[in-house]
Subunit: 183 residues, 2 copies
């Protein structure tokens, strides 16, 4: 019989809210009958897009990420709005952040970035057949859009210049999909 | 001239602490001069280990992750204790969780799992030359240790059965290292 690893909710409280993050603290019953507590961030979910250009290059962003006080190279991504279809989130974020629209969208799968202390799930899409337009970033959204070939992007991962887990994971899924489907 | 994307601290407050998570809310000055606020989790950093057995199989864990109410397949990993050397964290976590010790440790790089709202960094190691022993899990730590071949693990990623971003990212780094070094 497989081990039952499930932890059961006893009670729940909100320890931070009102700003950007909602943080919960739950009392739980462990599989061995002991009690413990779990703290975690509530997240609406997000979408990450792997945009592949006609020449095979990938569209990327440089963005300052305050928690680490550092500029990161990332794939376009963003949070799902309340009630929004996840494919629409992908299309909206790609357009807003880069100005591109894509003819073809392929669902690659889901990624969980932070299973220890967040319920965030990130849905990954491959977008190809791209058409350039004007980005629709609001004036407080500072980011730089640029292109890399797949080889250049892999070299930057090897060199430790790309370390964002959603970007590495989504690229992994995209690379396997493209290999398996001769894209 | 490259765009300056830096956001500067104006003031900082702690909005949750005392339990497992410390959460900060900082007022910041954006590159365009506007002010905004950033909320994020303070994290001590962690280590993830890719343990490769003599037969080429990888050592994995099944663990219930309460924020998502779901059992995940993960590589062994754990938080860095205060003042602890990161390689020691890797050795300690591998031993505690699986009972294995490794003769050879290779640093693969760093991963940032959650750049939007956490300062967590996860250092990834490849461990090979493994010797089995007894695990040292405390009685509240419920997890199941098992093996998969690289092909089985990749198939589980393709099938959406492995979705943990640190696990996918560390495997990506390990696979590239092993390919480049004929391991």
């Amino acid at each position: 019989m497989p081990l039952d690893l499930t932890e059961h909710l006893i009670s729940s409280e909100t320890i931070a809210s009102g700003g950007m993050l909602t943080v919960k603290r739950d009392q739980v019953r462990l599989p061995n009958g002991h009690t413990s507590q779990r703290e975690y961030v509530l997240h609406p979910g997000a979408v990450v897009v792997v945009p592949v250009m006609e020449n095979g290059n990938l569209l990327l962003e440089k963005q300052f990420r305050y928690p680490l006080r550092q500029v990161f190279i990332e794939l376009p991504a963003g949070k799902i709005d309340t009630g929004e279809d996840i494919l629409e989130t992908g299309k909206r974020e790609l357009l807003e952040e880069t100005g591109y629209r894509a003819k073809h969208w392929v669902k690659l799968g889901a990624i969980h970035p932070c299973i220890g202390y967040s319920n965030e799930v990130i849905y990954a899409y491959l977008a190809h057949g791209l058409n350039a337009g004007a980005h629709q970033r609001d004036e407080d959204e500072a980011l730089e859009v640029f292109e890399l070939s797949m080889q250049e992007m892999l070299a930057k991962i090897d060199a430790g210049e790309i370390t964002d887990a959603k970007t590495i994971s989504a690229l992994f899924l995209a690379e396997r999909y493209m290999k398996n489907n001769s894209l």
